[in-house]
């Protein structure tokens, strides 16, 4: 038996950190969706703009959607300037967030390796390292031996089906404990007087003369000066309530954990080519994710063959995992855009705001989204970092095409 109780260093499970108020009949701002993005937006509406007549409406319990289901990888090593702008802004906020929220988030900058398995991967990766450096994002190119130094359990044998030909390395990347992030943000928003309302499903959006006036909910109608959508996988359903469509497809995305193990995996490893990403959580479980299931669905579950394929890839890369067991698998519903970049900004309806399309990779952006989206809502004008991610890029053609370019899986 191990002398160290797994998880012994973790803080105690908290008591309730926020009130459970009944909704009032009217708010200046109603945020739809109490995941990480909705809570971060509430936090920064109060903190940066002094706007506290705000309700966050959540159909389930707080942060029970993708916020509870993601693999918590945080990084900012995206290829394009627009992406580096918003994700690096988020990473800098992460670096001060525990202090800002006065709450332990177990934010651990253990670095991320994005593996290259082909000559084309190598070229794209080196290009991305150079692009990152130009944007003041920390990035290095590592050869296979250096990869092994950072993560000794990676198989760098040239005989592997997909040999490791090198990797990009972002030392400031890492993971955080997603529940704590949600709790810390919720506690801060609640303390500022913002109402967090659970078990309150938005069932309709009232629009009069092209302008939003409120929402209908399972707890009755609520009038609102502004309505900000943060509904991730359900964004298309909400947009339909307001009478417009979004270029989104909602897919299941699955992940899994092993039993608790002694520390064996010191960093985060991602491989786009074989579609797997792995880290070891603070408690000791190996956390792994895959690519999306192929078809659209709102079921919060996916197919087992996707997990099987992902495990096969993981075993190639980490032969030592052969003795580990899958303890639990689950799925979330992610809203994917055609260019794999988010949509955040104004909507085709006045005083209604859009934040969606973060797909498989929005956890890392949580504080950055909150900051930028709160600005967009407060000023009725997109924050400069959000401007490239407005809905009209699909008409102008100014896509931010991160597909394949920047290890977009997460």
């Amino acid at each position: 038996m191990s002398p160290r109780t797994p998880g012994a260093q973790l803080p105690e499970h908290p008591d309730w950190l926020w009130r459970t108020p009944d909704p009032r009949r009217s708010y200046d701002v109603v945020i739809v969706g109490g995941g990480g993005h909705g809570l971060a937006t509430a936090h920064y509406l109060a903190r940066n703009h002094g706007i506290t007549d705000v309700a966050v409406l959540e159909r389930g319990w707080l942060a029970g959607g993708n916020m509870a289901r993601n693999t918590t990888i945080i990084r900012s090593n995206y290829l394009w300037d627009e992406s580096a702008g918003i994700y690096e802004h988020a990473l800098r906020l992460w670096e001060g967030l525990e202090e800002e929220l006065d709450y332990p988030l177990l934010f651990s900058q253990r670095g991320v390796l994005n593996l290259a398995h082909s000559l084309q991967d190598v070229r794209d990766s080196v290009r991305r390292v150079e692009a990152n450096r130009l944007n003041a994002v920390d990035a290095q190119w590592l050869d296979p031996r250096q990869v092994k130094e950072v993560c000794p359990i990676v198989n760098i044998s040239p005989d592997a089906r997909y040999p490791v030909m090198g990797a990009t390395y972002q030392p400031r990347a890492g993971i955080a404990k997603h529940d704590h992030v949600a709790w810390g943000l919720a506690r801060s928003a609640d303390a500022a007087g913002i109402d967090l309302i659970q078990n309150c499903e938005v069932t309709g959006i009232d629009v009069t003369g092209g302008r939003v006036t409120g929402v209908r909910t399972s707890l009755g109608p609520i009038a609102a000066g502004k309505v900000a959508l943060c509904a991730a996988g359900h964004s298309s359903v909400l947009a339909a309530m307001a009478g417009f469509e979004l270029p989104l497809q909602s897919h299941p995305l699955q992940a899994l954990v092993s039993e608790l193990l002694e520390p064996v995996h010191p960093t985060v490893v991602m491989s786009n080519a074989v579609h797997v990403y792995v880290s070891q959580a603070h408690k000791g479980e190996l956390v792994m994710g895959a690519g999306v299931d192929a078809y659209t669905a709102y079921t919060q579950r996916g197919a087992f063959h996707v997990i099987e394929r992902q495990m096969a890839a993981a075993l190639e890369l980490f032969p030592v995992f052969a003795r580990a067991h899958v303890l639990r698998t689950w799925g979330g519903i992610v809203d994917v855009t055609p260019d794999a970049s988010p949509i955040t900004g104004l909507a085709p309806v006045d005083q209604l705001y859009l934040n969606c399309g973060w797909g498989t990779g929005g956890f890392k952006a949580t504080p950055g989204v909150g900051w930028v989206y709160a600005h967009t809502i407060a000023h009725d004008d997109p924050h400069p970092l959000a401007r490239p991610f407005c809905l009209d890029r699909f008409t102008t053609g100014a896509l931010v095409d991160e597909h394949g370019a920047a290890a977009v899986a997460h």
Binding site: V237, P247, A294, Y295, T296, A297, A303, F304, T396
Partner: protein, 92 residues
């Protein structure tokens, strides 16, 4: 794991199929006549309902033929399958 009834081969495991997205999206008759908005809609906007969804599947590891299915995206229940060229069945 879904059991998908191919209209030619009968019920088969999901792993045998490829997904083709929304069905009944015709190529624009005169692409050069489209406005930017219309072109954007054709290229980038597809239905994403929570409920019945007519969509294309290809029995890639079987008869290799494309067909259409109406699947409820909230439950994954397959409500109907029909061959390419056949009209979309009315789902009640």
């Amino acid at each position: 794991m879904l059991l998908i009834p191919c209209p030619w081969c009968g019920p088969r495991d999901e792993a045998e199929f490829g997904y083709g997205g929304q069905a009944h999206v015709p190529y624009p008759e005169d692409p050069t006549a489209l406005t930017d908005e219309e072109w954007a809609r054709y290229l980038f906007f597809r239905n994403n309902p929570k409920g019945p969804h007519p969509e294309r599947w290809c029995h890639a590891a079987g008869c290799r033929r494309w067909f259409n299915a109406v699947r409820n995206t909230a439950t994954n229940e397959i409500l109907a399958v029909y061959r390419v060229g056949e009209p979309r069945p009315v789902i009640v």
